[in-house]
């Protein structure tokens, strides 16, 4: 029951993007299509789960003073793994995400969970927390990417829905800010209704 809670809280109640407002740079930067959002989300999820696991394992041994640098090195190692794997197996996605893959290192979601959750909790809880948070992040990115792709390109996951011209501004940078703004407003409204 408790693990289930650790897993599900990342989706709505503590969604890293819509509620905690963490990791906004990749959220805005890569979501020009639903597929890019999904790819970025899954890459971040992998890093989150692995770094949460390792941090939970070693946190007792790390002196308090060098805690944050150690966490950053652990995270950076996993980001490098993801970077090399994506370059080898999904080069097209790697190219379209570009700069934002190495930038997973400075994604506040990852460091925030390592510091705020994994360093204090048991290994299994940390894995579930990482998985939940990661999938919540993926969920947010896919929705945002999907909306922007439908409005700006008339397609969803590269399947053409609307023929003819679309509202190109939603694919460009202003669209990212505006769509995210309205999504957060919607989320605020929904969360208020639930509680």
């Amino acid at each position: 029951m408790n693990q289930w809670k650790n897993f599900t809280k990342g989706f709505i109640k503590e969604n890293p993007v819509f509620v905690l407002l963490l990791g906004l740079c990749p959220t805005l930067g890569v979501t020009t299509s639903a597929f890019n959002g999904l790819g970025m989300g899954l890459a971040t999820t992998f890093v989150l789960v692995c770094s949460n696991l390792v941090v939970a394992l070693v946190s007792k041994q790390i002196p308090d003073k060098v805690r944050i640098p150690t966490f950053i090195v652990i995270i950076a190692s996993f980001v490098t793994i993801v970077e090399l794997m994506m370059q080898a197996y999904v080069p097209a996605l790697f190219d379209s995400l570009g700069l934002f893959i190495p930038l997973i290192v400075v994604n506040c979601v990852v460091l925030g969970r390592a510091e705020g959750f994994a360093s204090k909790q048991s290994v299994t809880s940390s894995i579930f927390d990482g998985l939940g948070m990661g999938l919540g992040f993926t969920f947010a990115l896919t929705i945002l990417g999907g909306i922007r792709e439908i409005l700006g390109n008339g397609s969803f996951f590269d399947v053409k829905l609307i023929e003819g011209d679309a509202i190109i501004i939603f694919i460009l940078s202003p669209g990212a800010f505006i769509v995210l703004g309205y999504l957060i407003a919607l989320m605020n409204k929904m969360n208020k209704k639930i509680t």
Binding site: L21, L22, L24, C25, P26, L28, G29, I68, P69, I72, V73, A76, S77, V79, T80, E83, L84, L99, P102, L103, V105, V106, N107, C108, L111, I169, L172, S173, P174, G175, A176, F177, I178, L180, G181, Y182, I184, A185, L186, N188, K189
Partner: protein, 190 residues
């Protein structure tokens, strides 16, 4: 001329915040007041320039000769983290007034993706040392420009009547979207 193009494109055309989405966290987080946003921009200018210079030297003289460029991410983030700490210590000793002004913003900069992003970009664009430094300074000015304009707008927003659900971050994001739209007018300039 070359430098001029780098400067104009980094400040206006591909503005680091509004066009490339780097450094969004401080952009949204500390842009409540014009005075704090100026302080943050100053700290970013300082760290960004030094970090880009140091990481450029590391890339050319350590990573490439030893053939370990795949460790770029780990090296860069460690250097930036150490550098921020060092800048903080040095400022505290050498210039207490400057430390007073920038102090609280410095720790936040380690996790500012603008710093790492610019350092990596300086390599993917194949800049030499001088160009990288100019690029870093111009990017930081672009960050400051966007930040100060945005803070000014948010100060006005506080006085406006905003629908309940849109209060705070949502309306700020929509405003940022309109600001980004204004900056799109610069595209095609270079």
């Amino acid at each position: 001329m070359e430098y001029f193009i780098i400067i104009i494109s980094a400040i206006f055309v591909s503005n680091i915040v509004l066009n490339q989405f780097l450094g969004i966290c401080p952009f949204i987080g500390v842009s409540g007041k014009v005075s704090t946003s100026i302080g943050m921009s100053g700290a970013v200018l300082f760290v960004l320039t030094i970090a880009t210079m140091v990481t450029w030297l590391i890339q050319i003289y350590i990573l490439i000769p030893f053939g370990i460029t795949f460790l770029q991410t780990i090296f860069f983030i460690l250097v930036i983290a150490a550098l921020v700490q060092m800048v903080e210590l040095i400022l505290k000793k050498v210039s207490p007034p400057l430390y007073q002004a920038l102090g609280i913003f410095l720790p936040l900069i380690t996790t500012n993706c603008a710093v790492l992003g610019v350092a990596i970009q300086a390599h993917s664009k194949n800049f030499n040392l001088m160009e990288s430094v100019v690029f870093a300074i111009a990017s930081a000015i672009g960050f400051g420009l966007a930040m100060v304009i945005f803070a000014g707008m948010r100060e006005h927003l506080d006085l406006m009547k905003v629908p309940a659900g849109m209060k705070g971050v949502p309306i700020a994001l929509v405003t940022a979207g309109i600001l980004a739209m204004a900056f799109m007018g610069f595209s095609g300039l270079v």
